[in-house]
């Protein structure tokens, strides 16, 4: 079955899986996991350079920019102003005007501040950014983000790093139904079936970090996620059977021996 390509803001990606670069046991393991995942987009964070210790190797030594599109995030920002400032810095540090926009509203849950998120999206879109906002799994907020010019909406499946899987299946389905821009489930994936479910619900892509980086074997989990996203996408396109309360026999009811 042929699929339509995964296109974000006019750019085509080979994989519907987007992976992070945080919390890996080492940069070498990260590079291996990236290769196993088949992803061609990775997220990075923007932080102050460590002035006193210059010995640390650079993350970018382990990401091939010819193979991977680098998507900076504004993780850790708690106001629209901070997020906008970080996005502008990311644009100067990198090679593109794309940003994964995060405006966090609460430390314990890392849930987004949707009001500030919409405000920051408006500012950045006006400045020519391609904005991919990390948002609550709320269809109305997603619609506002889309109206503000977001290139995609990225509802969470569960809190960042929680590994709980998709908590509100129906909202993700409704967001997909409402949206005219791509929907990427961002955050909350714990294992392969969570990623498959996101894709089965019709998500255009899945973004994850901890599920791979925090697994006991990140490279194996990266490969599992690659297959999970492909399987979920295919299942979505194939069209699942309706759920029924009782059995329907798969084998013929006629011609049974001894009847």
């Amino acid at each position: 079955m042929t699929d339509t390509p995964f296109v974000l803001a006019g750019r085509t990606f080979a994989s519907r899986l987007i992976v992070g670069t945080g919390k890996y046991p080492s940069n070498a393991v990260m590079a291996e996991a990236h290769a196993a995942s088949g992803a061609d987009m990775v997220t990075v964070a923007v932080r102050r350079v460590n002035i006193s210790d210059r010995s640390k190797e650079s993350l970018l030594d382990y990401i091939d920019p010819n193979r991977m599109f680098i998507l900076p995030n504004t993780a850790g920002c708690y106001t629209a102003d901070e997020a906008v400032r970080t996005a502008r810095l990311a644009r100067e540090a990198g090679l593109s005007n794309w940003v994964k926009l995060e405006v966090i509203g609460d430390e314990r849950t890392l849930f987004p501040d949707n009001e500030a998120l919409v405000a920051a999206t408006k500012v950045l879109v006006k400045e020519g950014f391609i904005v991919l906002p990390y948002t609550s799994d709320d269809p109305i907020t997603c619609r506002k983000l889309e109206d503000a010019g977001a290139a995609a909406v990225m509802p969470l499946g569960a809190p960042i790093g929680s590994g709980l899987g998709i908590q509100n299946v129906n909202n993700i389905r409704i967001i997909r139904e409402f949206s005219r821009v791509p929907v990427i489930v961002d955050a909350g994936v714990g294992t392969a079936s969570d990623a498959s479910l996101a894709m089965e619900l019709g998500a255009d892509g899945v973004l994850m970090n901890t599920a791979i980086a925090g697994a006991q074997h990140p490279v194996a989990m990266a490969e599992a996620m690659k297959h999970a996203v492909i399987a979920g996408r295919l299942a979505h396109l194939a069209g699942r059977i309706p759920r029924k309360m009782y059995a329907t026999a798969s084998s013929p009811l006629e011609g049974l021996v001894g009847r």
């Binding site: 670069t21 993350l59 680098i70 502008r88 810095l89 540090a93 990198g94």
Partner: protein
Amino acid sequence: MIITLNGERFEIDRPMTVTDLLARLDIDPRRVAIEHNLAILKRQKFPDVVVREGDTVEIVNFVGGG
């Protein structure tokens, strides 16, 4: 003379360009973004902009994240 560099007091012996400051810090200018007194600098401006007493400089780069 003292500047504020990434939120910390930092001593430089003379006013210097951003390019010179990065060289002194052993930082590859191609991999960072810089804010000078809250204004973001284009990379082409690094050789022209001079950091002076009391200035605030932020140097950021990409690190692992999700």
